[in-house]
Amino acid sequence: MSKTLNRRDFIKTTTATTAGVATIASGITLTTFAANANENPVTKDKRWGMLIDTNKLTEANIDGMVSACQKEQGWGNEAHSTGDQKASWIKKLKVKDKATGKVTDLPLMCQHCEEPPCVDVCPTNASMKREDGIVLVDRHLCIGCRYCMMACPYDARSFVHEELTDQREHMPRGKGTVESCTLCVHKVDKGETPACVASVNSDAVIFGDLYDSTSNINKTLKKVQSAQIRADLNLNTGVRYSGI
């Protein structure tokens, strides 16, 4: 068999090699792009959480957190809802020690449980927990049965009673579905902190990855005394409190 390369064979081999290189090269490009956080699915390696120090937090701070949440997510101006019907993603709570009469103010929102009762009871899988621990309502699947609102020990969820317009572009909300704190998932996915945390502007509220031993929240939780609300339920909440 002749080893000399004629013109036709040369073109064939060159084309094959070029195609091969192009395939590998496109693979490399794809991996490079996939390094961008928003293109990869979130993983169990992270667990988002929040530490709220009620001793450092003033009442005005908590009001600021509530209004920051309203502004960011666009709730709180439901014109036709009354009383309990109104949306309440985060609220200011007063806790009184019966013995001493000491009153503590604390902000209460979805506690982003590791074992969320709202997810257990949901008949359509709309109530769900992301791999990184953020508990959300998939309103595409929500039928508005409100079982999750009954199941939640923190009264963290609201039901939309009226038709809404002019929602925030990152936060669709609609009549007949349940909603609650999303831990500002749209911001967290971009590497930002939730609106309520940003509004406080001190170390009274810390947001971060509970698993990451270099994160501020992890270090602080190792150092200070902290508590979970209704820890007796063994839900292992992502939102922790110190000073209560």
Binding site: N38, Q167, R168, E169, K175
Partner: protein
């Protein structure tokens, strides 16, 4: 020669019909932009519910927030502006982008009972 002529006339006619069927109208960004964001009109017309359904699960459940097949992207590009008031029309309102087809085929659009119908505050126009 005759064959060529027939072919040429064929192409010309296709051009005319597709111009008539052009779904992009008004003064939306999509009408002004020369950039192609999806494969072809026929594909996106037939498949957009599947694309959007697939994307919504990835975004909500897995945190994948890319521009590809994002409903926000549809609205940003296809919402028309009212020339008098300089305000956006809702993309699903009468005779606007979504409704022109959906009315014709009698299929309701459920996206906008929750989703925003006009470009939001963060939208700064086509890049």
């Amino acid at each position: 020669m005759v064959r060529l002529l027939v072919l040429f006339i064929g192409f010309a006619l296709t051009g005319i019909t597709s111009a008539y069927e052009n779904p992009i109208s008004g003064n939306s960004e999509a009408a002004q932009s020369t950039k192609q964001y999806h494969d072809s009109v026929s594909v996106i017309r037939k498949m957009h519910p599947e694309f959007l359904n697939h994307k919504r699960d990835k975004t909500l459940r897995q945190g994948v927030r890319t521009e590809e097949n994002s409903l926000k992207g549809c609205v940003n590009c296809h919402a028309n502006k009212d020339e008098k008031t300089n305000q956006y029309h809702s993309v699903n309102s009468q005779d606007q982008f979504c409704s022109t087809c959906h009315q014709k085929v009698s299929v309701s659009v459920d996206c906008f009972s929750c989703h925003r119908t006009t470009p939001g505050a963060s939208y700064k126009g086509v890049k």
